[in-house]
């Protein structure tokens, strides 16, 4: 570890740092730019009610008790209404795995910001469609 080898190491470090100044930044401007979400992304769920059989396997599989089922609320023959509490959900994918009737899926949508905590409880009206009014607050739209 002589004096000149240390100088050489220092200049090599300078070279790396100096080169980095002219490299494009790696970060993406997330809320303003979209990023790529793979097909398997475990985002918010979608509940296809036509196929649901109200077997409540998803409710049993959920480790954090984020799903509530209402068997009285029937739209078709033997379906049920699902209530997802996204303030509890950990997006583990066990409910989708437990569903044997292709009725519950994850979607690549992860933008769930809401103004109030109660809005994160997705009732049957919100969980069955992908359309959602984004949060508007003081003239700005949030994802």
């Amino acid at each position: 570890m002589g004096f000149f080898s240390v100088l050489g190491d220092m200049f090599r470090i300078f070279k790396h740092v100096f080169r980095q100044v002219f490299v494009r930044p790696f970060t993406s401007l997330y809320p303003f730019e979209d990023r790529y979400y793979p097909e398997r992304t475990r985002g918010r769920h979608i509940h296809i009610r036509e196929k649901c059989t109200a077997c409540s396997q998803c409710v049993r599989a959920c480790p954090v008790v984020a799903i509530r089922i209402d068997k009285e609320d029937k739209m078709y023959e033997k379906d049920a209404a699902l209530y997802f509490d996204y303030s509890r959900c950990i997006f583990c994918g066990l409910c989708v795995e437990a569903c044997r009737f292709d009725s519950l899926f994850h979607t690549p949508i992860v933008d769930l910001s809401e103004g109030e905590r109660d809005d994160l409880l997705y009732g049957p009206d919100k969980i069955e469609t992908l359309e959602r009014d984004p949060l508007e607050w003081r003239g700005r739209r949030f994802r």
Binding site: D9, M10, I13, Y37, P38, R40, T41, P63, F91
Partner: protein
């Protein structure tokens, strides 16, 4: 040494509110600039994971394990899964074995990259904090492509794995590995050959192999002393595929102090670990066999387990992770689960390592052991 013996001593809580103390607190007694007593305190990050596990069934338990250490999620959830498999007597398909091994090694690289950045930031260079983390993003992209989540992957399940490889996953894994191979010389220049890095870490936090074994250290910390102690070789797991490839346990042999390791040796060891893991992934990726990723007949067996107890263990990034699981007959949840995190012993070895070193070196010694608070406070 008690405080009243030395009048000049001051006590400092390297405490829960310190910038670099994220979830831990250590009481230091200083005389001048030297630390005379170090008192590590566990318990600031306690989430009672073992108790929570008793109320979750055998599919949900692995989720808790991976949340103990998100950085090595694939590795952390493995002990639970393999313990369940042992009790239930589940066979893992060949394809799932290889895929598990590949993803565990990828997780190891990603965790070590995180640690490079963290250690560099603790040494005061924020440039090297961000550079490895940029490369880490490529592994996270691969994980996301595979499982749909960047950190909490929940990939392993009793009897196999949940998500299959596809072209996108393999392409992203290869891209991540190419990237890290490109950048390894640069990181070596910045870390191993950096003059300021050498003067800060050489001869700091030095201990012998005997001491390390006595304190219960494992993983890279003990391998840096020259002890080739590695669960992947010593105890080949039948549900992992480490025997399918050719690799050596990486150890550091420092000629200045053979049989001992300092903070610099531990950094060298972590570079060797990354190179070994890269080699394993490269050998395994072409030989992923065809077949099912999980046996559908065996799937339901994990719902109710027979009575029994089993150890599941894995060579994690930071050392040996062990989980002991005991079940009662036809139980849906474990009767008792007990976790042995790798970092508990490395955290409490500070009690012997730190005294008589300088105050400025405390964070270097602490960081060089690669501690993660989630592992000592379950």
């Amino acid at each position: 040494m008690k405080t009243d013996i030395v009048d000049d001593a001051i006590e400092i809580w390297f405490g829960p509110q310190h910038v670099s103390a994220h979830g831990w607190a250590t009481k230091l007694t200083l005389v001048g600039d030297y630390i005379v007593e170090c008192d590590p305190n566990a318990g600031y990050f306690h989430r009672s994971a073992e108790k929570v596990m008793e109320f979750r069934n055998f599919r949900q338990g692995a989720l808790i394990m991976e949340r103990l250490c998100m950085l090595e999620a694939f590795l952390a959830e493995y002990p639970y899964v393999t313990a369940v498999e042992k009790i239930a007597g589940l066979e893992v398909p060949e394809r799932a074995k290889v895929m598990r091994t590949i993803m565990m090694e990828a997780s190891r690289i990603h965790s070590l990259q995180f640690w490079w950045g963290q250690f560099a930031a603790e040494l005061g260079l924020f440039t090297m904090l961000l550079w490895p983390w940029v490369d880490r993003e490529f592994f996270l992209d691969a994980f996301e492509e595979l499982s749909g989540s960047r950190h909490a992957v929940s990939y392993n399940t009793p009897g196999g794995v949940k998500y299959d490889f596809n072209e996108g996953v393999i392409a992203k894994l290869e891209r991540a590995m190419d990237r890290i191979e490109d950048r390894l010389p640069k990181f070596k220049d910045m870390l191993l050959r950096g003059p300021t890095f050498r003067v800060r870490t050489q001869g700091i936090g030095q201990f012998t192999a005997e001491q390390g074994l006595k304190w219960g250290l494992s993983g890279p910390n003990i391998k840096a002393c020259g002890v080739p102690m590695d669960l992947r070789k010593d105890d080949p797991d039948p549900s992992l595929a480490y025997d399918m490839c050719d690799w050596e346990v990486p150890t550091v042999h420092n000629e200045d102090h053979p049989g001992e390791s300092d903070a610099y040796d531990r950094m060298v060891q972590r570079f060797l670990e990354v190179e070994t893991s890269l080699g394993i992934i490269k050998q395994l990726l072409p030989q992923v066999p065809d077949g099912p990723i999980i046996d559908p007949k065996h799937r339901a067996k994990a719902n109710r387990l027979p009575e029994g107890e089993a150890y599941g263990r894995v060579e994690g990034t930071r050392g040996v992770t062990t989980l002991w699981l005991k079940t009662q007959d036809k139980a849906q949840t474990p009767w008792r689960a007990k976790i042995r995190g790798p970092c508990f012993s490395s955290y409490y070895s500070l009690k012997h390592l730190v005294p008589s070193s300088k105050f400025a070196d405390f964070i270097v010694i602490f960081g060089s052991l690669d501690p993660y608070p989630g592992w000592w406070d379950r």
